[in-house]
């Protein structure tokens, strides 16, 4: 279960940003998780809650923004929601789709005092 390693990496970044910004108590961490990453949002939340117990992060909330797998049609430029990997542009029927979202694994922001 690599969600624990992912959590550790998130908290490392949070610790650094808290120091830089003079924050003592973390309230919220906002992250962006793409559909095509190997990260399960519920598992990540669980790991986060376990990892912050008894640490300076205790009480912080993890907010996850999930990003669907999306593409852009190379023929007509239209946006395509990719489901079950059937890549077909709903407008022109082309299968030449460029993947544009779904790979995200980012920290967006944090809140604290």
């Amino acid at each position: 279960m690599h969600e624990m390693s992912i959590t550790r990496s998130m908290l490392e970044i949070a610790r650094r940003e808290m120091e830089v910004n003079g924050i003592h108590a973390l309230r919220k961490l906002k992250v962006r998780i793409g559909e095509l990453t190997a990260v399960e949002p519920d598992t990540l939340k669980f790991c986060f809650d376990v990892a912050i117990k008894g640490t300076p992060f205790q009480g912080a909330v993890l907010e996850i923004e999930e990003v669907p797998l999306g593409g852009r049609c190379r023929v007509c430029g239209g946006e395509v929601r990719i489901t079950a990997f059937d890549n077909r542009c709903p407008k022109c029927g082309s299968t030449d789709i460029e993947r544009v979202s779904g790979h995200e694994l980012d920290i967006i922001s944090m809140e604290g005092d």
């Binding site: 390693s5 190997a38 694994l105 944090m110």
Partner: protein, 221 residues
């Protein structure tokens, strides 16, 4: 209390180290691959089966083995006369760039090395997000699993350059449909180059080893 914008990749640190590994290996003319699969699909067997072919093609190679525990796989490879280093990850279900970084001095200790094969921990989920600095990720799926694996574990197939469908000798005894597996894999990743092998009969091994040798030789200058 206000919102502080961070906007950073969670695995930025791993990606940085991976980029350093890639640069360091490239500058020495070493081609590297990251072998991933579910436990037991045949990563170590494929390395064993390819050994003689790679030697015949005069490719000098070494293996870094990632496992949760033990050095069984490194011993298997070593017994074929191939240098192997075992990394045990403890509880981590994947190798990361930092562990590979620590293995590089060992790698460089082998004069004239051309190819580094990294066998990742047997796991189809976790290694997908961890760039090691390899030139190509190779997913192995076996006919003892399901031909719908690519649709169930899309992240790993999407991150790979090559796919090996192994244990083709067992296909007649299962309901695994090789054509269907290929279609599913290409749905997830249209750029995949696909090979079929059997480490039991040796079918397809020479072709795959030859392709790997060609990639290796094209990297060196």
């Amino acid at each position: 209390m206000h919102e502080i914008l961070i906007e950073e990749k969670i695995l930025a640190r791993n990606d940085e180290i991976a980029a350093e590994n890639r640069l360091a290996l490239s500058s020495r003319g070493i081609y590297s691959v990251n072998l991933v699969s579910s436990p037991g699909a045949g990563k170590t067997s494929l390395i064993e089966s390819m050994t003689q072919h790679l030697k015949d093609l005069a490719v000098s190679f070494a293996v870094v083995e990632g496992d949760l525990e033990g050095d069984f796989d490194a011993k298997r490879v070593e017994s074929r006369g191939v240098p192997a280093l075992q990394i045990t990850t403890g509880r981590a279900c994947h190798l990361d760039a930092h562990q590979i970084c620590h293995s590089l001095p060992w790698v460089y200790g082998h004069e004239g090395l051309e190819l580094l094969i990294i066998e990742n921990v047997g796991n189809m989920v976790c290694p997908a997000e961890y760039d090691l600095g390899e030139d190509a990720m190779i997913t192995i799926m076996s006919t003892a699993e399901g031909d719908d694996k690519p649709l169930k574990y899309p992240a790993i197939f999407s991150a790979s350059e090559l796919l090996v469908i192994n244990k083709t000798d067992l296909a007649p005894y299962t309901d695994f449909d090789i054509k269907k597996a290929r279609e599913n894999a290409l749905k997830v990743n249209p750029y995949l180059k696909i090979f079929e092998t059997s480490c039991r009969t040796g079918d397809g091994i020479k072709e795959f080893a030859g392709y790997l040798a060609a990639l290796t030789k094209s990297k060196m200058k």
